[in-house]
Symmetry: C2
C-alpha cells in the first residue's frame, strides 16, 4: 500500500485545454500506459457537451476502449444528470462533480449558478447511488478565483461538508488557476482534513505561478495523502497563456520518491510517457523532469581540460 | 527589517550560462534596477578567467558602473587570490568562494582539486580581511553531485564549520544542479542552521526538476531566512538543456508575499524587470509568474455566452 496516492487527471484536465483533438486510439493507449504505472485513479474524460469541450467529445468511446485494471478507479467528470447518465452507461467507476465556490467562476465554467449546479448534483448522486458507482465532489477555485479573488474558507469547508452529507466518498479542493500558497494550503487543507479525513480528501493543484510542488509539500506535511496531477504538467489556465498547467505527475512522483515516500508508481515508466507527450499534443510540455531526468541518472565526469 | 532576505544572483549565475554577451551597460542598468527593488545582496559578477567565462569578462567595468546603495551588499565570486585582488580593486563589498563537496565536480567546475581550492581560500581570506570586505563561503553540490550522486552530509557540515573557522561571515549551501528534495533540505539545512545560525546561512537552490520553491518552503519552515535567487529563473544546468535554472527571484518573492512573510521587496517592480529579461538574453525565461501575473491581478468575468 502506497503512502501517498497520485491521481492522474491529464486525459481530462490536460487534454481539454489542447487545441488539437487527440485521436481516440491515442487517448486510450495513453490511459492504458498510465494505469500500467500503478496509478490508483485516472480521470478518463468528461461527459460535458461536445460543443463546449470538443477535445473530449469521444468520452464514451474512450471509456469503451480502455483496459480496466482491478484497483484502479476510472473517473468521469459530469456536469449534470445527462452527463451522469452517459458516464454510468460508459461504466465509469466514479462520477466527479465540480462546483466553484466563486459564483462568477461557476457561471463562466459550468454556465450555471451554484444553485443550479447543486440541484443537478442531487440527481447525479441519486443516479450514482442507484448504479453503485463512487461519487466525488470537487470544490473549484477553493484557494482563490481569477475574477473574485480570495474566497471565504468557511464557504469552502461548508461545501466539503455538503458533498459528504450528499453521500460523496471523496472530496477534492481544487486550486483551479494556481492561486494557492503553502501557508494557505496548511490552513485550509488542514481544516478540510479534519472534516473529510486523509482517505477522502484530494488536493488538485496547478503550477501556474511555480508554487505547485511547494503546495504539495506543505499539504503532505499537513497530512494530505491524495493529489491530482497531470502527466507532463499538461493543462493550463485560460488567463495565463503559456504558463504551466497542473502539477506534473512525474515530477510529483519523483519528489516523493526522493523524499522516501512510497507512491507505488513506476517512476521511470511515467517519465517515459511524459517524454512522449510532446508528440501527442504537438508542443513542448511544462515538466522540467522531462528535460533534466531523474536525480539518480548521473552524468560522466568531463575529461580534464 | 524584512523577515526573509532574497539575494539576487542572476547577473552572475544567470548570465554566465548565456550564449550571448550582454553589453556592460545593460548589465549595469539591470543591476541598478534590481537593487532599487529592495534586494539586500546582489552577486554582481565573477572574477574568473575571461577565457573560462567570457560572458562575465567585464566584471571590473560592471562594478565600476553600478550605483552603490547603502545597505546593499555587492558580491563578487572569486576562485583564487588573483580574482580576489581584482574584486577588491573593483570595490566589491563581499568575496564569495566556491568549493564543491564533490571532488569530481570541483575539478570540472573550478579546474582545481578541493585541496588546491582551500589553499587559495587562505590567501583570499587574508586579502579580504586586510581590505575590510565581507567573506562568504559556498558549498557547491551540497545536496548531490551530477557525477558522484549523493554526498555525505557530514562532509558538507565539515565545510560549513571550516568556512566559519576561516573567518567567513556567511556560508551558502548550493544545490548546484537541482538535486535536492524538501526532506533533505529539512535535515541538512536544519543541521547547518544549528552551526551557522539563520543570520549567516544562505540556501542557493535551482529549479532543475521543478522542486525549487518546495525546497524554499521546506527550508523556511526549518528556519532558513536567506535565499539566493535569479530574476526570471535564469541560469541552468549544463546537463539539462532547456530545463529551469535558479529559482526565480520574483516567484520566490511572490510566494513569501502571499504567505504574509515580508521580503522588503517591490514585487511589481521585480516582475516588470523579469518580464524585460527576454529582450536582454534573447529567449523566453523559465519564470511562470512572468506569464501568469500576480495572484492579486484579477481578470474581468467573461460575458455570458
Amino acid at each position: 500500500m502506497a503512502d501517498v496516492f497520485l491521481q492522474e487527471v491529464g486525459p481530462r484536465d490536460g487534454l481539454q485545454m489542447e487545441a488539437v483533438f487527440v485521436p481516440t486510439a491515442q487517448k486510450i493507449a495513453l490511459i492504458d500506459a498510465l494505469t500500467a504505472t500503478g496509478l490508483s485513479r485516472v480521470e478518463v474524460s468528461s461527459f460535458v457537451s461536445p460543443k463546449a469541450v470538443p477535445a473530449l467529445a469521444d468520452a464514451a468511446d474512450v471509456f469503451a476502449g480502455i483496459a480496466r485494471r482491478p484497483g484502479v478507479i476510472h473517473v468521469a467528470l459530469v456536469p449534470n444528470a445527462k452527463g451522469a447518465e452517459r458516464a454510468i452507461a460508459a461504466k465509469a467507476d466514479e462520477l466527479n462533480m465540480v462546483l466553484s465556490v466563486s459564483r462568477t467562476h461557476n457561471l463562466a465554467n459550468m454556465r450555471m449558478t451554484p444553485e443550479e449546479s447543486l440541484a443537478g448534483f442531487r440527481d447525479i448522486v441519486r443516479m450514482g447511488k442507484g448504479a453503485g458507482v463512487l461519487l466525488n465532489g470537487t470544490v473549484a477555485t477553493a484557494f482563490g478565483c481569477p475574477f473574485e479573488g480570495a474566497e471565504p474558507p468557511e464557504r469552502v469547508l461548508e461545501l466539503v461538508r455538503l458533498y459528504l452529507e450528499m453521500g460523496c466518498t471523496g472530496v477534492t479542493l481544487a486550486d483551479t488557476t494556481g492561486m494557492a500558497n503553502p501557508r494557505q494550503i496548511e490552513d485550509l487543507a488542514g481544516a478540510a482534513l479534519s472534516i473529510a479525513g486523509a482517505g477522502a480528501l484530494t488536493l488538485h493543484l496547478h503550477n501556474t505561478r511555480g508554487l505547485g510542488l511547494a503546495n504539495v509539500f506543505a499539504a503532505w506535511r499537513a497530512g494530505v495523502r491524495r493529489f491530482d496531477a497531470a502527466l507532463g504538467g499538461l493543462g493550463g489556465c485560460p488567463f495565463a497563456p503559456g504558463a504551466s498547467g497542473n502539477i506534473a505527475t512525474e515530477e510529483t512522483a519523483a519528489m516523493f520518491s526522493e523524499m522516501g515516500v512510497d507512491t507505488g508508481l513506476d517512476l521511470r515508466a511515467l517519465l517515459e510517457e511524459a517524454r512522449g507527450l510532446a508528440a501527442i499534443v504537438g508542443h513542448d510540455v511544462p515538466s522540467q523532469l522531462t528535460k533534466s531526468g531523474l536525480v539518480e541518472d548521473l552524468h560522466p565526469a568531463p575529461a580534464p581540460r
